[in-house]
């Protein structure tokens, strides 16, 4: 019995060590966009980022249309995350912490022309500096082709 107690303690210790090896889930890497659907995914190995572009229904319809004419009620959200090696599999990289969230919303003017409001912030809502110029960034986001998925 005297020998048994330390053995049990060692086993419990080993079990506790094994427990700490269990991965910690990271819900903060998720960024669900209500009433929006995926337009496409973008990988950029130069920047070590991976991004998901979401759009509302008008934006999705634009993606499906053969004649490409933007509508005034389109909304887009581009969520960019760090690209990192997938744990447990050398051969795949996956999203990590979110780097930025860019939002583009179309706006119809009385004259009939459409302008776009653009914002870029981090997951905590802090505004991030615009480093590439809004016009180019807006065009990049709204002109992404819709990824084919049945």
């Amino acid at each position: 019995m005297i020998k048994l107690i330390p053995s049990i303690l060692v086993l419990l210790l080993l079990a506790a060590c094994k427990e700490t090896a269990r991965p910690v889930l990271a819900p903060e890497y998720l960024h669900p966009e209500k009433d929006m659907h995926l337009i496409t995914s973008l990988i950029n190995n130069s920047d070590s980022t991976i991004a998901l572009l979401y759009g509302n229904e008008p934006a999705i319809q634009y993606g499906k249309a053969i004649e490409k004419v933007h509508r005034s009620d389109e909304k887009y959200v581009l969520v960019t995350a760090h690209l990192r090696q997938m744990p447990h599999w050398y051969g795949t990289n996956m999203n990590g912490p979110i780097v930025s969230i860019e939002q583009v919303a179309a706006h119809l003017h009385e004259a009939g022309n459409i302008s776009y409001a653009y914002s870029k912030h981090n997951r905590e809502g802090e505004v991030l500096p615009d480093t590439v110029g809004q016009a180019a960034r807006i065009r990049f986001i709204i002109d992404q082709p819709l990824a084919v998925a049945p």
């Binding site: 991965p23 889930l25 973008l42 051969g91 996956m94």
Partner: protein
Amino acid sequence: MLAATAGRGSFTDMETRKFTSRQRKWIITAGIVLFVGIGLQFTSPAFTNPPVTNEIAVPDEVLAIFQKACYDCHSNNSQPTWYDRIAPASYLVASDIREGRSRFNFSDWDKNPPAVRELLLWEMVNTIEQHKMPLALYTWAHPEAKLTATDLTTLKNYVNTLPGRHRVDTAAIMQPDASHTPVNTPVSTTGIAYPADYKNWTIISSTDKFDGGSMRVVYGNDIMVRAIEAHQLPFPDGATIVKVVWGKQPADSAGNVLPGNFQNVQVMVKDSKQYASTEGWGFAKFDGLQLKPYGKTADFAITCINCHRELVPDQDFVFNIPTK
């Protein structure tokens, strides 16, 4: 005094008898062990090497690593040592060889389609990197089979030269039309129906699977997402994930890589009773724009779970979940 002496004499006699009795037990036990041990040798499994039909063709330095650490169980050129052939160890060795050859066999390599061969090679790298292979008991008995960091680097360098590593999708992007739309909801041989509403679910991860030239977006249903938010592992029954798989277009001038052609949709459904033999997960795959269910029988799920079981047992056998 006499009584005391008589008493001591009696105690010594008992000690002698007890000691003799203990010895007798040891002798009997040793005899039984010897008898059973010798008997076991007559039923010990024989080790045979079937003919080599198609040896794997890899660079010499890679082949040397496989021969050193893997061939005893994963080829038709097993070379058990004399102590491997002694029962009861021989039973374990025979079982490992049987299991190893059934998983993949370097001597029967062309039995696997090219894409599977590549996947197996990447899987080997990963099982070695995570110290799952070669088996610890095997390297304990065969120290010469231990792999070094240099061996692993050699293997990594090799898999990075495989065609899938650099595959890009340059074909025109196929758009779905009426001819692609299945009349009925496709159902996998594992009993899983194509979950057409997955696009309304939450995306839980996105990946660049550069080992095979594909990119993926992974959706989770409400049960799955709630479990992630609650840090709940293992995942509850009803949790479902859907992986949408595309090829990869060549990178643009800014380095952006966009989805190429749609390849397939892969599904994992947690049902601990229905899929008890595959760790509670049901697997399904629907190929191409016509969403053709993959696999002639439900046995393809065994291949899936073999890899998941080996590499991500602590993640409830799921790779594509967001973890720190």
